[in-house]
Symmetry: C2
Subunit: 152 residues, 2 copies
DNA sequence: GTAACTGCAAACGCTTTGCACCAAG
DNA sequence: CTTGGTGCAAAGCGTTTGCAGTTAC
């Protein structure tokens, strides 16, 4: 899905779920919808403040909470701490993340549902959710200086 | 591996890596080595304080850091926040966690390495690490009151 | 007009650090 | 004896909350 279409889609869902569209929220939505990398609340704040100079960090947190509830973004857990967010591909949570630049790629991995089924039988667990994440270095970062961070 | 053997194993590695064995550290090691559930630093602190009454929370953090570096425990990321720790099965990071009681089960999932290989070809990523985690309700918790927490 | 939303500042909780004392080896 | 480890207290940091003013609808 192209970024512009995604933003329209988000605005649609956002408004029809009863949320008011304000400059602060629009700025956050634009930043997150147009990014294909994992972003921290602070990164989102800094980027969104260019579009809405009076923006406060608090509004970023509150908007992210709404977006997470609407399933428009998903939380990404990283080796160190964990408050990264990325726009959520429909239904999938299988991510490939570059530890150098933060770029993220969704991929298909339907064999996971088979695995879930066998776990259910084997251990008697009722499976609610799963999480598959790969970390590595993307092609671009491999060809550059490995210690050159390229966060957007 | 039985818990007692694991503790011995840990003490072995711990000491031969140059770390001194103190009452505080022993208490933390005993608690974590003998548990098969995901534990937060605070839970570990409370349990370990029974064995070493003068224990400080700070020592728990410091000991966990050492254990993580020695790969004896692994960090578990949970939907909400993420500072859970569990003793690490050798080489495997595939976990099945009960969201009710915290019990964790390691399982085999070697198909993940195949998947990693295909991702490498498809997207050009150099894969460094992966993470597969299932969340659900274990058999015991299914048969009990679902809202009855049973944290150890 | 009104309820939802805002930014600010302060509170909060978890984690880390500085330090003087202590004990493992 | 020496160096690494301890607990305490305080600092640090990211996140959340209370609030009075503001704005989308």
């Amino acid at each position: 899905m192209p970024s512009s279409t995604r933003l329209d889609h988000w605005l649609d869902i956002f408004q029809s779920s009863g949320c008011r569209l304000t400059p602060a929220r629009l700025a956050v939505l634009e930043v997150v919808a147009n990014s294909s990398t994992v972003l921290s609340p602070m990164q989102i704040f800094l980027a969104a403040r260019n579009r809405a100079p009076r923006l406060g960090l608090v509004s970023v947190y509150r908007t992210l909470e709404i977006l997470e509830n609407l399933k428009l973004i998903q939380r990404v857990h990283q080796p160190d701490g964990c408050q990264g967010f990325i726009n959520a591909a429909s239904g999938h949570q299988h991510l490939l993340i570059c530890v150098n630049c933060g770029r993220a790629v969704y991929f298909e991995g339907d064999d996971v549902t088979e695995l879930a089924e066998s776990l259910k039988e084997k251990f008697g667990f009722h499976i609610l959710d799963h999480w598959l994440q790969f970390e590595g270095i993307c092609r671009d970062c491999q060809s550059k200086n490995p210690s050159d961070p390229e966060k957007p």
